[in-house]
Symmetry: C2
Subunit: 227 residues, 2 copies
């Protein structure tokens, strides 16, 4: 089968979704340039995981951008005065929503893609088993693609950059099954919002709950290290 | 006259346009939270100017976000290996275009606005006497507003944040005349792409040329300090 060997920027957080995303992009034949952000999140274990995953999947390179979203705050992930909810997933947009985070990340990925002459950005957003974040929905991605075509030199002069979201319609269990098929070692990944310095998960935040339910529903042994 | 006392985030670079923008936002009765970026530009004189202007116009506060766009590069402003053109303005998008810069800046302003519960972001883009940047055009701003409504908690749950561009249809001479009416001291501002550490301008980059022509056409003495 002929494969697409175009370049892609792949947003890799070090969690379960982005690990699967990277494996899928590599499987589709993309030359992947992984991009991660040290944005002031509660722990750096996910960044270490992102770098390991990039290496494991043969990414061309791995770039880490420092961007202090704690200067803005407004989220339990970027303001230590706001606690990460541990009582279970509730309706609506939770306090772990980081204002405009995916817009910011995609904007920086767009600039990087333009410099690389890459025409694809992969982001692991998911609208099924997700945390209620507005910037994970298909309509958000569509609006960003519309913006990207107008915002950039490549959009004006030639072919625009497109955001690709292969996980968007998958359940967490589907994502895990697909990743296992592609050889993802989920033991390397860190999803927990408040993992400790060794990458061990709390087991009670929304992200831990979604992940554990996903492994259970997929019928796959959960390799998560809990503290 | 009744004035709008809503909060606004105002992007203040320290140049001529954003100084006028801030004066206009204050004149319209906004409580202004100014926002600047240390993004790896060639000099920091403009950041000093931005902080001075914010103080002079009574901004509520002034925030500086560190964001290393040199990690991405691709512009004469963020890569020292690329020279700033000095021979005069030419057709097309110049090498001083920073990939996706306004998209990145507006995204961060959007997150900040959401945290402040501000409903307006002011940006000094201009589509008349401008440098050919794609992310200064009205269609770009419209697409960003469309995105903002879908990207944020406030867009989903209530009133979205709107980007306001009061300079967009003004000539550089119009901008200067309006600023002078509003008491802007353009001697404080730094427009030059490659100002020295004392904020003195080169006089030959595109930004210096547009600025000088603007003062000339407005019939106002140019207070720019050249080196």
């Amino acid at each position: 089968m002929l494969r697409d060997t175009q370049k892609a920027v792949v947003l890799v957080s070090g969690g379960l979704d982005s690990a699967t995303l990277l494996a899928m992009a590599v499987d589709q034949g993309y030359q992947c340039h992984t991009l991660a952000f040290n944005y002031g999140q509660r722990h750096l274990a996910e960044l270490k995981a992102g770098a390991q995953l990039s290496k494991a999947f043969g990414a061309i390179d791995h770039k880490l951008i420092n961007l202090d979203l704690r200067a803005i705050g407004g989220s339990a992930l970027t303001d230590d005065a706001l606690a990460v909810p541990e009582a279970g997933i509730v309706e609506g947009i939770p306090i772990t929503y980081v204002p405009a985070r995916n817009t910011v990340f995609l904007s920086l990925a767009l600039g990087y893609a333009e410099v690389l002459n890459a025409k694809s950005i992969f982001i692991g957003v998911n609208a099924v088993d997700y945390s209620g974040y507005p910037d994970c929905r298909p309509e958000f991605v569509k609006a960003f693609n519309n913006l990207a075509a107008l915002a950039t030199r490549c959009g004006v002069e030639g072919e625009s950059v497109q955001v690709k979201t292969p996980l968007i319609d998958l359940t967490k269990a589907d994502i895990i099954r697909r990743g296992v098929e592609l050889g993802v070692d989920y033991g390397l990944t860190v999803s927990c919002y408040q993992a400790d310095s060794k990458g061990r998960a709390c087991g009670v935040c929304d992200s831990c709950r979604l992940r554990a339910t996903g492994f259970s529903q997929a019928g796959i042994t959960d390799p998560t290290r809990y503290r």
